[in-house]
Symmetry: D2
Subunit: 503 residues, 4 copies
Amino acid sequence: MNSVSKSFLRRGRLPTEMDKQALEYTSSIAVDKEIFEADLKVTEAHVAMLINQKIIPSEAGAKILSALAKIRAQGYNELAKSSFEDIHEAIESKVIEMVGEHQGGWVHTGRSRNDEVATCLRIRLREYLIEISESLINLLQTLLEKARSEKDALAPAFTHTQIAQPTTFGHILLAHFNALARNLTRLLEVYNRVNQSPLGSGALTTTSYNIDRRLTADLLGFNNILDNSIDAVGSRDFILEAMATYTLLATDISRLCEELILFSSDGYRMVELADEYSSTSSIMPQKKNPDTAEVARARCAQIVGMLTAAFTLCKGLPFSYNRDLQELNKLLWHSSRTILDTLKIVEKIVATLKVNRSRMRQLVEQSYSTTTELADTIVRESGIPFRAAHTIVGLAVKKALEKGIEPNKLNLKMINTCSKKVLGRALNISEEAIRNALDPATFISRRRVEGGPALETLSKAFSDKQLWLKEKIALIKKVKTELEKADNKLRKTVAEYTTPTVS
Amino acid sequence: MNSVSKSFLRRGRLPTEMDKQALEYTSSIAVDKEIFEADLKVTEAHVAMLINQKIIPSEAGAKILSALAKIRAQGYNELAKSSFEDIHEAIESKVIEMVGEHQGGWVHTGRSRNDEVATCLRIRLREYLIEISESLINLLQTLLEKARSEKDALAPAFTHTQIAQPTTFGHILLAHFNALARNLTRLLEVYNRVNQSPLGSGALTTTSYNIDRRLTADLLGFNNILDNSIDAVGSRDFILEAMATYTLLATDISRLCEELILFSSDGYRMVELADEYSSTSSIMPQKKNPDTAEVARARCAQIVGMLTAAFTLCKGLPFSYNRDLQELNKLLWHSSRTILDTLKIVEKIVATLKVNRSRMRQLVEQSYSTTTELADTIVRESGIPFRAAHTIVGLAVKKALEKGIEPNKLNLKMINTCSKKVLGRALNISEEAIRNALDPATFISRRRVEGGPALETLSKAFSDKQLWLKEKIALIKKVKTELEKADNKLRKTVAEYTTPTVS
Amino acid sequence: MNSVSKSFLRRGRLPTEMDKQALEYTSSIAVDKEIFEADLKVTEAHVAMLINQKIIPSEAGAKILSALAKIRAQGYNELAKSSFEDIHEAIESKVIEMVGEHQGGWVHTGRSRNDEVATCLRIRLREYLIEISESLINLLQTLLEKARSEKDALAPAFTHTQIAQPTTFGHILLAHFNALARNLTRLLEVYNRVNQSPLGSGALTTTSYNIDRRLTADLLGFNNILDNSIDAVGSRDFILEAMATYTLLATDISRLCEELILFSSDGYRMVELADEYSSTSSIMPQKKNPDTAEVARARCAQIVGMLTAAFTLCKGLPFSYNRDLQELNKLLWHSSRTILDTLKIVEKIVATLKVNRSRMRQLVEQSYSTTTELADTIVRESGIPFRAAHTIVGLAVKKALEKGIEPNKLNLKMINTCSKKVLGRALNISEEAIRNALDPATFISRRRVEGGPALETLSKAFSDKQLWLKEKIALIKKVKTELEKADNKLRKTVAEYTTPTVS
Amino acid sequence: MNSVSKSFLRRGRLPTEMDKQALEYTSSIAVDKEIFEADLKVTEAHVAMLINQKIIPSEAGAKILSALAKIRAQGYNELAKSSFEDIHEAIESKVIEMVGEHQGGWVHTGRSRNDEVATCLRIRLREYLIEISESLINLLQTLLEKARSEKDALAPAFTHTQIAQPTTFGHILLAHFNALARNLTRLLEVYNRVNQSPLGSGALTTTSYNIDRRLTADLLGFNNILDNSIDAVGSRDFILEAMATYTLLATDISRLCEELILFSSDGYRMVELADEYSSTSSIMPQKKNPDTAEVARARCAQIVGMLTAAFTLCKGLPFSYNRDLQELNKLLWHSSRTILDTLKIVEKIVATLKVNRSRMRQLVEQSYSTTTELADTIVRESGIPFRAAHTIVGLAVKKALEKGIEPNKLNLKMINTCSKKVLGRALNISEEAIRNALDPATFISRRRVEGGPALETLSKAFSDKQLWLKEKIALIKKVKTELEKADNKLRKTVAEYTTPTVS
């Protein structure tokens, strides 16, 4: 206690060293591993700009750039050995240690940790957004392929967790494709708002140095700069919206997992997870459990909780920077990694999923799932309104259940018994029409409307989706190329300023 | 109990009436007020399409359309008198009651409540999104005007709820403008995903009738159709993302309110809410409390909670429709109204806010908020690195505080005392340079960098923002015009089919 | 705008009337219906105490008490017609309107809305806690009875949503009893902390009048008084913990509903909800959906969300009263009613639930759920360690599945084939021992350990639980009797002071 | 891929090794560090019981116990080197590796990972509950001492973040004591429900071995056993309620931190965090920021989020064990450590807090915070009703503010000007009475009501609280002693069975 701080920052206003436990409690060093590389880049770009604008001596700048290169080479772990408030302080201290304060003391000219960290967060987050998008694309591609190979696999479709109507398993999988695909669009929209530069905003009012914000933004691959400095350092909606989008995505993944667990449960056995993605019991020898899907489902709950934490944390804060915001970063990185890992696992589960066609057919046939078509057929054949047909068929099903008559044994006579009750007369319809209506294959082939499961409709949908995926893949490639270009430019600029040409 | 149901839906499979308490518990009638008008439109468009496709008799169709017009004229309250599961059942029952089952029984041909309700939700939600966007634009416009009129009002800017640096109150308000404005972009992105038609998806596999989904989508003003029927009826991410966007917006509003409460508190008195937006105490005669801002802040917490509820609700559901989803609607409408009301109130608070310039100036002058500039000036004048200058000034402030010296009394001698401690020598800097550096006006005028508070920089930002707002206003106008066009077309089509030309 | 306020409170410091929209936005009148009766009681007790302590003239006190009686008789709706900030202002204004300010102006002496509302909230909440506890007891009683009547109904028990082992349906229902029962204990613990009186704390520092806090606490049935006035008016943890307990309860109810939905789904059909608690489809004539259980499950999600909102709302507030807290009340009442309604519905669902014993037996028999017992039997009979037996049986099940051999066809030969693989030798065990081990009835009857499903064990548990329930019923009766006594005393005291004996 | 698993569990039913990435994704090994010691104890108690009941050979049992001792000695890190699903599998595998399957294979007899993990969680959680309670007691003790030493420090008390009335800083701190203290009671109630033994419940239906659940419960220090095996392995409400209680506690801590941040902000400067718990800025030399309090506040938001995650995770799960539950453990441990660390830091912040008495006095004197007493004095002296007095004083304050008259300059003349407006006449009150009423010291000394800030009242409260704390300290000591006794018994029993007496 009360010992003089070794921190360069604390030498002036707060010369006493921070309480050890308090430093541990508040330090973000462990979490800042995520932005180690980003902070080096940001510092390089900033220093290069300072040299370019003649704000700092070019010699000091060159020395700092060399030091940064060494720090990068030594890696994060070396840096994290000492105890610092954060990576920013650690890097500055290391630079000063390496090249002396006379030169290294220039590194933080015209910036603040407030704009520095906001810039680092955006750089790292955009990387995650790209990686997550790519993993999502993989999952989408796998789902599409699986859907294609199951396009004619008769399957029960559910509402209220009850068998509702027949469809194909390809149609079911495509539903998940569609839901998940919207998240890709969202991720890319978020990317655009994330990829804006706060650098140059200083503590919160910019700086009186003649800095060039466009230059650093350019070297760091940003699309644009944030044009109010208080907002730039104090807002974290870019984090909140990334996490909200993860949560939307997680909700869709969780619903997919819910179906995998339900469909693979003993009552259904429509699908089976590959052994590599299942566990057994320590005591029940027969058990095969869908553990990976369960864990994925649980992780999605954690993502919901992290989003709640993030909103709760931010909601009560006045502008601009408050130290609370540091804690948001943990949630962001944890959330990012969780969704990423989960996407990868779910992709593997889907890719190796075994589909039990005969069981799915059996479930459809044991249910009364084609009776909607029966009612519709009655409407078309006998000309009565739908609501009457719905009542007649409903009554018939009720009787069949009471008498234990199987679904495909519903016949004209039974229908007419009910019709007489409802309409006072028999229907003008053939036994054959009823047979046809009750056939699951007919049910599906008649659903040719856009969005439906009929083979030709579904095939068209597959092509459309494949095309859509290709466009997105190209778009992401473009984004990555732009980032690479900026990085090359930064590397070149740094090289140039590190070894100033002798005059 | 066990009495025969009066519900048309329950006559077949479940002839027993629902338990009264259970019906009350599960009925969505009260909440469906929100989609009464939407359901009428959807039913009109659907019936018109059924006539057009010759799926139902044109005479029955005409009768149904007449009945719908009457139901609209009678209004929602008339309909809500009877107890039904939901508005969809209520409208169909009313139609049948009005024109007889022989004609009215056709109304539900080729659709299901599942696609019907999803369509209604999207129609009502897009209206809310437009209304919320417009209210947000009002708030933005008011903020911009207020910022403009306070562009030269010296004010303290905060980090860590501590006075950090001087700026202008216009710069502070513009920060909120920027943060809030991003939500407008988000709302418009969400709008595009909401405005897709699920109609024609039936229960979950479309239908065997030869319906025309593009026609109904067109009559209802949708941009496109959802092209997988299971996804179309079972997904609610369009609700979740709208609510997530509200929550992002609410977080920004809450932070603004937090500042209004802080800035108007006795320790600051930088601003004062107009009396019309304040309350007093029932017992403390002197009290003037910022109640409206407090309630707004609390409502934002409720919006966070509703989002959490929505994610929690959806997360565990398999596809497709489950009755749980009905409960999501309550959250959506409640959330929509809450954010709308809150935007309107906050706009009024800002519009009538009194700004206390002399107090803000006093706060700036009593703080050491210009010392960043002092350090920067030392760097520039004396050529020492920033970190050393930062330490020197930090020491000087520490001493000044200990001795009770006021901020503007920091002088060359004191600085040099500290410099000798740090560098072992005095600095090469003039007393005048120090005086200048400590002057808040200088502090601000030197911050000309993009995003900074200097007058010319800020004025440029105001122009940019006004332009941006104009573009958004035009965009929303365009969207509304398109919806009106579609509605006119629907009205015309309905009129045409209601009075079929005599052959 | 700017019109002079009709509010008695605003005549002094804030004579301008509140903006109409702001008043609507901030007024709690609609929600205060919940505390209308409580506020009358609190005011009666307070006024009686003021008379008793000779703080106000007894004549004025008598008039006020008469006015309060009239306000009660007229009812809440009459009061809510005018627009006020809240019920407290409304009642005081009404009193003054009725008996003139000269007399009525004494009513608010020595108290503040801050302690008044905190007291009202606690009174209304304790009523809810009692009502919720009683409804929970009803559900528990129904579950116990149902469990008793299904104590010998063979049923599959699940882990990982896979059939794990046989048990009885009574054992399964008792698990829910146990989980739910813990919430009753929690509710009663919360009750004790809720039932403390804040009255007399004034705005936040008590008052200089010689009030008697113990007397008002006594008249209002409180167990004790809160002994720090800032805490008493500024803390709302009693609300948060009530809501947290509701959420614990809701989670258990949601899991029960999840099982009801799963068990009644087509793949299982182990149970069936009564028709009165089910819905059908508007289009699929065969559908019978467990809508009530689905809605109950969704309501539980809303309860989670309200808790989140409540924590988020409170978390950022300094002491003591902030207007934000008013918004907490909405969440509390909404939450209280939701859990109450849900308990009632779920009780009815359970009471009328149809259990399909033959289907449950079929599910058990079609699974390999008794193989744990087979492994255990091998351990006991042949003396090999459990892990080896587990491996042998696991292998046997794997082979049986591959060859399509039914569970009850596992035999000694197959076991020994596997044993040779694992141990290199056959097992010393009889065919009969294997047959017995595979029999579900044996499986159950052997599980006599405390907590297990064997008939005698279960019967003992039923008796224990019934006893426990009786104790809780008696406890709640006692609590209610105490409240009635206090209320009688209040009535008597009020009567006494309303008609002061003529001297 | 497809390589044969080295896991003992997977040799039978699922001989294929788990996919490496899936194993990493689902393994809980890293998190299970928390229950390494608990699992050893549970296994020791279980094995001792198996020996005692003659269920396993005593020799095998002795070997297993020796192996467990070695595993403990080697420590968790050694065990975590290999990849396993969880700590339970790891320990069993290690035992088998050490003593051979012939002996080690007996370890898992008559139990399952399901009851094993539930038991471990409860053991570890009760340790956390004790440690958290002790840290909370430390904080309470520190608060009480600080409150005592500030019992006569005049301070402004706030409502609506506005200065409301004068009080003492001791009174303010005691409010936090009271709020926080209720959480101690809650923690102890939760402890009782946590400390129940699930061991012996097996996978979910107990076991057919003649195990003795009371014996293991006794050896492990449990108060009781859970008497339904499905509930025992499938319920996690004990985790949820611990986390809910943490969140209640965190909310109170967050509000305390909110006040520390507000009170130490430039507008107030009522308190100042010690330098050791503050940070400065990397750029603004004058800054001293309350970073520890900010981080603590943010951590409390994370605790809210973890609770939300926990509820969301559990809500949708059917009974009994699902792998999702494993993920709950992470949330529990993270939550436990977060609240523990935060309590410790906040205790240090409070202990070292500097209180600025002169500034607090200044704030009180610059406000009109004693005007409630002025109104009350008018009531008492002049006999007019409170509402009239409130209006008169309110008007007087309004005028004083308009004319810039300082609070202590309010005088009889001004009051009477207002009185004439309101009542049409002057008041019968002396100038001296007004002077007295406006004096903050008088304000406080007159508030002698229970709960109020007057010195004697407050001193009484301090004594009561100290007594209460002592009782709680004694209670916790008792609980710890019981656990130690049980542990000694376990140690003795294990020793006995490890070296079986030669016959």
